[in-house]
């Protein structure tokens, strides 16, 4: 038996695998099949009937999304079955389906947020009839509460069940369902409770009609008046592909774009709904503290103040880079401070014990995000991907659900949406027999260590034990580097790649912030503990009036990720560049430019005058291989050679202190999110529900 099957589709002969659906086969020859319920990344429901095609000889039209090609049979004379996706028969069938779908659908397109990007609207134009023949009463459905993100107008619902399947299959929280039946069937959450998934916003994209729309974006704009900019998300270290829709100077919404290697086509709620934070609490001009109060000053005044604050001797200056720092700013700041002789520079959280070995692979997610799909045993050490990389967590779940992945966890127990083997919450488990047994027979083992696993006193020992374990269980092999770190901050890898770590003899973050240096420069560092700064004077370069700015003596405003073209390296080591969607706020400047200006003030002008020149420097000369040379690509398995060497012997041994959580509150993990009203609402709700992903 051959694995392929010949079909005649619209007069074209095509041979496709038997496992294909008829819809896939039709698309193979370029036929356009309308659909509502079918979605590539969800299971097949077959309930909208929009994808009907004609099979010559069949008594009825076929729903092509649910028809497996291998179940068709050739004609009696042995010729391939004849499928038609066009013609009067098919048109009449689709026309009839469309008429039924529209029977109970309200005619409220003019006030519907989906208008202009609505599948039902588009397909009604293409396949529907001009006018309605229905003069009975239409049914109306009560709107449901689904939380602060998803607005519902349930009368518009056509019961495609995409949202039901998404939350059950991808998000892994079975919270949406279809209740009752027949004409009274309704989509709802259980007793209208809010969705607790951190991927819930995706149901808005999935909804083919205007039943589920974005609550924060409601009535804000029409899709055709928005400027659409492809960019990169910085809310976590995944670097998901996003589209920033803006109008004038405001970001109106953020949508995911497809990047199969990173986010497929999903986006976490934080990345999607954080946009209102980009317009609030912004630093739009420089400030300096006079008589204990921050007063607005001009740039020259601010830079002079900075110059004064930095004239305390290189050893009395410490520089800490924050979570959202872009590689350009990191590079420019590092070049500038090194030129002053400053050694106390760090981009890692306090207590971090990684990134100093000089081996890039030690801090990358070498198996890659997509690599989890081929993997069969995954061990998470001090990492909670549901909070730290929510979209990747859905991918792990997918691999567990459809593949043969099993997951083990060393760290705090949490609801990850898939079952896992819990090896306790102590580093000692790394050497346990149970963990070795877990990997037994695994062809592609994967060990992922989270930031919480290494930001601790015995972090070095944990790292080296984890790498040792990886080498032992065959995770490092030809063509497979199954060891990696899952970062929580978008800027971390880029800054590490730029070399933003303490120079020889320099202080790390924890020591810079303990009040022992006279001047501390915070590059958007708000997640660090600022309580021990004592009398240090603080220069804050950042975007939002957050913890750092309120402690600062001088505030220099810089542009946020939506306002510049900036390089970010994701946790896999994938170099990606954001695109400017809107102008920086007020007098805010691009981060690198601030340090270029300062360097001129100090008479040690940096060697680049534009961001492109700076990026060229990061990329290196032609043929030179730097972390920034490739764009959009993750080194992945190429790291296996570097990982097969043992870590330098650690001076500490594994402790028994349990792993902490890297992120406290999923919705409030960075200054942009903390400025967002939507995120605050989500956070309050999650806390009150006490089932918050972060609280588990």
């Amino acid at each position: 038996m051959s694995d392929t099957f010949k079909l005649n589709i619209d007069g074209q002969e095509v041979e496709v695998p038997k496992a294909y659906t008829l819809m896939q086969a039709c698309e193979e020859v370029g036929a356009e099949i309308p659909r509502f319920c079918y979605h590539e990344r969800l299971s097949v429901a077959g309930n909208c009937r929009m994808c009907l095609v004609e099979w010559e000889g069949a008594p009825k039209p076929l729903a092509s999304c649910a028809q497996i090609v291998g179940d068709l049979r050739p004609n009696r004379d042995g010729s391939p079955p004849v499928i038609r996706t066009k013609g009067a028969y098919v048109e009449k069938a689709r026309n009839g389906v469309m008429e039924f779908l529209l029977i109970n659908h309200p005619l409220d397109c003019p006030i519907c947020d989906q208008g202009g990007e609505c599948d039902l609207q588009d397909q009604a134009v293409a396949y529907g009839r001009g006018e309605s023949r229905y003069d009975e009463n239409k049914r109306a459905v009560e709107d449901k509460n689904m939380g602060p993100l998803v607005k519902t107008i349930m009368t518009r619902c056509i019961q495609c069940t995409r949202c039901v399947r998404f939350v059950a299959e991808v998000a892994g929280v079975e919270e949406i369902g279809m209740i009752s039946r027949g004409e009274t069937a309704e989509i709802t959450t259980y007793l209208e409770k809010s969705l607790t998934s951190e991927l819930s916003g995706n149901v808005i994209d999935l909804c083919p009609v205007g039943a589920l729309t974005s609550k924060p974006y409601a009535f804000n704009a029409r899709p055709w008046e928005l400027r659409k900019t492809s960019s990169i998300d910085v809310m976590d270290a995944m670097g998901a592909a996003i589209r920033i829709d803006s109008k004038g100077d405001a970001v109106m919404r953020i949508l995911p774009e497809t990047n199969e290697d990173v986010n497929e086509e999903w986006l976490s709620d934080k990345s999607r709904f954080v946009w209102d934070g980009l317009a609030r609490q912004r630093l739009d001009r420089p400030y300096a503290r006079r008589n204990g109060k921050l007063l607005a000053v001009t740039w020259p005044e601010a830079l002079d103040a900075v110059k004064a604050a930095l004239s305390v001797g290189a050893d009395q200056i410490g520089v800490v880079a924050g979570d959202l720092i872009e590689a350009e700013q990191a590079k420019a700041a590092l070049d500038f401070f090194r030129s002053l002789g400053v050694r106390n520079t760090d981009c890692r959280p306090a207590g971090a014990q990684y990134g100093l070995s000089g081996v890039r692979e030690h801090y990358l997610l070498n198996p890659t995000l997509a690599g989890v799909e081929g993997c069969d045993a995954l061990l998470l050490i001090g990492a909670n991907p549901r909070v730290e990389a929510a979209v990747w967590n859905a991918r792990i779940r997918k691999s567990w659900l459809w593949g043969k992945l099993k997951v083990g966890v060393i760290g705090p127990a949490a609801d990850l949406t898939y079952p896992y083997e819990h090896f306790g919450n102590s580093p000692a488990a790394l050497n346990s027999e149970a963990v070795r047994a877990f990997f037994k027979g695994a062809a592609k083992p994967m060990i992922v260590i989270g930031e919480a696993g290494v930001c601790r006193s015995d972090g070095e020992a944990v790292l080296s034990a984890a790498l040792g374990l990886a080498q032992n269980v065959g995770a490092i092999a030809e063509g497979w580097a199954g060891y990696g770190m899952l970062h929580t901050a978008a800027g971390r890898v880029g800054a590490l790649d730029a070399g933003f770590v303490p120079a020889e003899g320099g202080k790390a973050t924890g020591n810079i912030l303990d009040g022992s240096v006279k001047t501390v420069v915070l590059l958007g560092a708000d997640e660090v503990d600022l309580s021990r700064l004592g009398s240090s004077s603080v220069i804050y370069v950042g975007t939002h009036g957050d913890a750092g700015a309120s402690r600062a003596d001088i505030v220099l405003p810089c542009a946020a990720y939506s306002e510049i073209s900036a390089t970010y390296v994701n946790t896999e080591g994938r170099v990606q560049i954001t695109t400017r969607a809107v102008q920086p706020k007020g007098e805010a400047r691009e981060g690198w430019a601030i340090f270029r200006a300062l360097s001129a003030l100090f008479g040690k002008a940096l060697a680049y005058d534009t961001a492109d020149e700076l990026r060229g420097l990061l990329r290196g000369k032609a043929g030179e291989n730097t972390p920034f040379s490739g764009r959009g690509y993750a080194p992945g398995a190429k790291g296996s050679a570097a990982l097969s060497a043992a870590m330098p012997a650690s001076s500490v041994s594994l402790g028994s202190e349990p792993f902490a959580r890297a992120i406290g509150d999923f919705y409030l993990s960075n200054p942009v999110a903390r400025a967002s009203r939507t995120m605050a609402e989500c956070s309050a709700l999650a806390t009150s529900l006490d089932t918050a992903v972060a609280a588990e």
């Binding site: 079975e174 949406i176 369902g177 209740i179 009752s180 039946r181 004409e183 259980y190 007793l191």
Partner: protein
């Protein structure tokens, strides 16, 4: 069908299965493998409804979901899909009134009036908590239409008066007799059967197989059955040619004609005079049961004997000669 929602107020905060139900739960769960326990959701919901005074409260539904480790929304979907799961309180006696076509044609509308008058609107519980009613789709007892189901029992062949009597019995704590409310057994005819009353139908005597030697009750060595008597058919002239063309009778072919002649039947008049017993005898001889009756030979012969040939051919068709 109205929207079906949990009555959250009436449901309270908690629900517990009765201790004696545990055995039944174990029975239903035992039918499914450990990883397919959710298959038991409908039986468990049903048991929960029984333990909760005939309706399914929200805590009861959650109890089922927790036991089967199912997300609440999945159980909610099932509970709202099936209308036999009642999401609002019902009376001690809940009347399900069949309103589907056969019952409606036999007077279900009148029963509805009784319920509305004596209980109230559908799903309304009387103040004494004893009665409530709702209209349901076909309960599968159309032969005994119109009918209602009260709790687990069918009450059939109702009239408004009878239903009213049943309701007042139940309201006053008296027992009501379930089943048909007229003089009939199950769905047998009212007042006993008018047909198939002959006792000989049931003693085997009518069976043609009674002559088989191994038939129960037959003599061990039964004599060969005597040839059916050619009673009352006296041959006039053996093998004499027919006086009439017997083949004019539709159904009589050359073969039957020969047999008839052998029996001495030569004229239409002879056949026209056959009594039912004679017909039986002739049929027995032919070995074709009922054929003469079915083809109306006697009537045909009567017409032909009268010389009404055209009329015969028009009505019965001309026999093939």
């Amino acid at each position: 069908m109205a929207l079906r929602r949990f009555d959250l107020d009436a449901g309270g905060d908690s629900f517990a299965f009765k201790p004696e139900t545990e055995e039944k739960i174990a029975f239903w769960r035992g039918k499914y493998p450990a990883d397919k326990q959710r298959s038991a959701v409908i039986p468990l919901l049903w048991l929960a409804q029984k333990d909760n005074n005939g309706w399914l409260s929200e805590p009861a539904m959650r109890e089922v979901a927790d036991r089967l480790e199912m997300p609440y929304i999945r159980v909610y979907e099932v509970a709202t899909f099936y209308t036999m799961f009642r999401l609002q309180p019902v009376g001690k006696f809940h009347v399900q009134l069949c309103g589907t076509t056969p019952c409606q044609l036999r007077g279900a509308e009148g029963l509805k009036e009784v319920c509305t008058r004596e209980i109230g609107k559908p799903m309304h519980v009387t103040d004494d908590q004893r009665l409530s009613w709702e209209e349901v789709e076909c309960l599968g007892a159309c032969v005994n239409a119109p009918m209602v189901q009260i709790n687990d029992d069918y009450f059939e062949d109702l009239t408004p008066e009878i239903l009213s009597g049943i309701l007042s019995c139940l309201r006053n704590g008296a027992a009501a007799r379930p089943g048909p409310q007229v003089a009939r057994v199950n769905s047998a005819p009212e007042g006993g059967t008018p047909v198939l009353t002959d006792a000989s139908l049931y003693d085997g005597s009518k069976s043609r197989l009674r002559e088989l030697p191994n038939l129960p009750g037959a003599p061990a060595s039964a004599p060969a059955p005597a040839p059916a008597p050619a009673a009352k058919i006296e041959p006039e002239v053996p093998k004499a040619p027919a006086a009439d063309d017997l083949k004019r009778i539709n159904g009589v072919g050359p073969k039957f004609e020969a047999m008839l002649l052998e029996m001495g039947v030569r004229t239409f008049a002879q056949i026209a005079a056959w009594s039912p017993e004679t017909v039986d005898t002739v049929e027995a001889r032919f070995g074709f049961k009922d054929r003469i009756d079915r083809e109306k030979w006697v009537a045909q012969a009567r017409m032909l004997a009268d010389g009404r040939f055209d009329e015969h051919d028009l009505i019965f068709g001309r026999g093939k000669d």
